[in-house]
């Protein structure tokens, strides 16, 4: 079952998308609002400026020296009493004003308020009728409400629109997350089918993004099945190999029968060798399976020679080692030790005075040669020694040659072991894949 504490992929995707959508909509809202604000203010200003311009051009000094307007400029809404739209001209003793202002005067101190105490938006202008004459202060005012009312309406519409957009986008994100994760859900169902034994592999017709994953999964499944099969066959071989000596043991131990201790001991040792052989092979087989290894040969051989010179100290054998330092095998280090250790140990057992180890790199493989100067074995015996590894159920390990297990491990890597009779001695060649 899914662990609830683990972060959900869908939730993470959804949260990220929603946060981005909300931030984007917020920024858009602020920018649109500011633009509307400026646009409305500009409209009002233009209207007031037009009134100021009309006032300036109509302003004149009559023959009586009184300042007046050449024509009536109290067009609507300047003619309606207390409409909020006002104009006023001041300068010297003169005071001209719109009908809407009545008897009131606009006090030009901030915040400017009208006769009804309503907040006003002002534009003003200074005009001289002749150069050097007294300046006149022209003022046109609009109610602030004329600015804010349309913006309020626009904001409401904007908020509703952006809200709807946000909802639509979140819906889209939800649908997208669901669609994107759908193949993963299908994959998990397919895997459950494999586990339940309904199918053997995951269907490979998958979206490009998960296709590689499916190929890897199927390879892993195949490898598991293969290993399970190998393990089954090994257990079968082991059981088969143990039952015969066990039956003999039981027969030897039957009541009223004189026990042959030596025979029993030999049986126990035989069973031990068989168990050791199968365990060793199982260890190597368990490690393998598409994994890549890289083991430098020279240090391993040096260590093995150190061990073998101690094991066979009484033989005073000479070891001659010639392994290029850069030779690397595509094998696990323990398997290299196991194969080379067995071959070298054999050579030490049979050698008269010298064991020679060399290695040579071919195109994609390395050939390790172990030569001793002992009695060697006949071509016939060599065939038997090698063929024992051929069929697992006939394997008889520990017969003095460490060859069967070496050959089986080598075969797991696609390598091989061959024997060549020398005069005198024996040459064993172990071929393994090179790591380059």
């Amino acid at each position: 079952m899914a662990d609830r504490r683990r972060p959900s992929l869908a939730r993470r995707l959804w949260l990220a998308a929603v946060i981005f959508v909300l931030i984007a909509l917020l920024i858009a809202g602020v920018v649109i609002d500011r633009t509307l604000d400026r646009f409305t203010a500009l409209q009002i200003d233009q209207r007031l400026d037009a009134q100021l311009l009309a006032l300036a051009s109509a302003l004149t000094v009559g023959s009586d020296g009184a300042v007046r307007l050449r024509r009536d400029l109290d067009l609507p809404p300047y003619d309606r009493a207390l409409s909020g739209w006002y104009w006023q001209v001041t300068g010297g003793d003169a005071l001209l004003r719109s009908r809407s202002l009545g008897d009131a005067t606009l006090a030009l101190t901030e915040p400017v308020k009208g006769p009804r105490q309503e907040p006003l938006h002002l534009r003003h202008r200074t005009v001289r009728l002749a150069s050097g004459s007294e300046p006149f202060e022209l003022v046109a005012a609009a109610p602030r409400e004329a600015l804010s009312a349309p913006i309020r309406t626009a904001r409401r519409t904007l908020a509703i629109t952006l809200g709807a957009l946000a909802l639509a986008l979140m819906g889209a994100v939800t649908a997208q997350v669901f669609l994107v994760l759908l193949p993963l859900r299908r994959l998990s169902r397919a895997l459950a089918d494999v586990r339940a034994g309904r199918t053997r592999s995951v269907p490979e017709s998958q979206p490009a993004e998960v296709a590689d994953l499916v190929v890897e999964l199927n390879a892993l499944l195949a490898q598991n099945a293969d290993q399970a099969e190998r393990a089954r066959s090994h257990i079968g071989n082991l059981a088969h190999g143990l039952k015969t000596p066990l039956a003999t043991l039981a027969a030897e131990l039957r009541p009223g029968h004189d026990v042959d201790r030596e025979a029993l001991r030999a049986l126990v040792e035989g069973m031990d060798r068989r168990i050791a052989h199968h365990l060793r092979r199982a260890r190597s087989a368990a490690l393998l399976g598409g994994r890549h290894f890289r083991t430098r040969l020279a240090p391993q051989i040096d260590d093995l020679v150190l061990a073998l010179s101690k094991i066979h100290v009484d033989r005073s054998l000479r070891f001659s080692v010639s392994i290029p330092g850069d030779i690397e095998l595509a094998c696990d280090v323990n398997d290299v030790n196991e194969m080379c250790g067995n071959l070298l140990d054999n050579a030490c057992k049979w050698a008269a005075s010298e064991v020679a180890i060399s290695a040579e790199r071919l195109q994609h493989s390395v050939v390790i040669s172990v030569r001793d100067d002992g009695v060697g074995i006949s071509a016939n015996a060599a065939e038997i020694a090698l063929s024992r590894g051929g069929r697992l159920d006939e394997v008889t390990p520990g017969t003095g040659f460490g060859l069967p297990i070496t050959r089986e491990i080598a075969a797991l890597y696609g390598g091989d072991v061959s024997l060549n009779q020398l005069q005198p001695g024996l040459l064993v060649k172990l071929t393994l894949p090179s790591a380059d």
Binding site: E269, D272, L304, L306, I311, C340, G341
Partner: protein, 220 residues
């Protein structure tokens, strides 16, 4: 010949110790790595038999520790780990030989004898000292061509002396190589054993180096 056995399995350690004692050896047994490391670092032994998988201190660490502190005693590793990588690790740590369980006790005894002989500098299994001959492989003495009957203690003293023939073996060292760690002995017992040996192989064969120890004389 005195041996240190470090083995935690009660049944195996009992049968090993019984068999080794039956062969005339003095045996000290340690049931865990800590005891074993301590005994091997402080007492004198002709060889040690070390299991690798031990409680408290691992066998490989014990061996490495002894070698680091210049303990030269021969070491036979006895373990269930039968792969070459483990063997190489054992030898690199400083082991002299390696046996994989299950083993025949005779094999253990033979390997230990060979280790002790080689450590004393004898390449040949037969060590000759005048009319006295010691076959280190089967651990028996002949004197003037006839088998020499010896008690376990006499055998231990004489084998210690013949492995170092011509050299003076200090009393303390001889004492340590003959008696087990927990043995109840008085200091005169060694003289008694040497006196008995002199009766069997001739008084002149074992020289007393006054205040120092004993020497096996081979010439003449």
């Amino acid at each position: 010949m005195k041996l240190l056995v470090i083995e935690d399995d009660p049944a195996l350690s009992r049968s090993l110790c019984d068999a080794l004692r039956a062969e005339g050896c003095a045996v000290d047994l340690a049931r865990d790595g800590e005891d074993g490391l301590h005994l091997g670092s402080t007492e004198t032994y002709d060889a040690a038999l070390v299991d690798l998988g031990l409680p408290k201190v691992d066998g490989l660490r014990i061996i490495a520790e002894w070698r680091r502190s210049q303990r030269q005693l021969p070491i036979l590793v006895l373990t269930a780990r039968d792969d070459w990588t483990s063997k190489v690790e054992g030898f690199k740590a400083g082991a002299d030989d390696y046996l994989v369980k299950p083993v025949r006790v005779e094999e253990v005894i033979m390997r230990l004898r060979a280790l002790v002989r080689r450590a004393a500098g004898h390449a040949n299994p037969e060590i000759v000292c005048g009319p006295l001959r010691f076959n280190a492989q089967i651990a028996t003495f002949t004197f003037e061509g006839l088998p020499l009957k010896l008690t376990a203690l006499e055998w231990r003293v004489l084998s210690t002396l013949i492995l170092r023939k011509g050299l003076t073996v200090q009393r303390g060292e001889l004492f340590e190589r003959v008696y087990e760690g927990d043995a109840q002995t008085d200091s005169n017992s060694l003289e008694v054993i040497v006196a008995r040996l002199r009766k069997k192989i001739g008084a002149g064969r074992i020289e007393t180096a006054r205040g120092l120890g004993y020497r096996l004389v081979c010439d003449g």
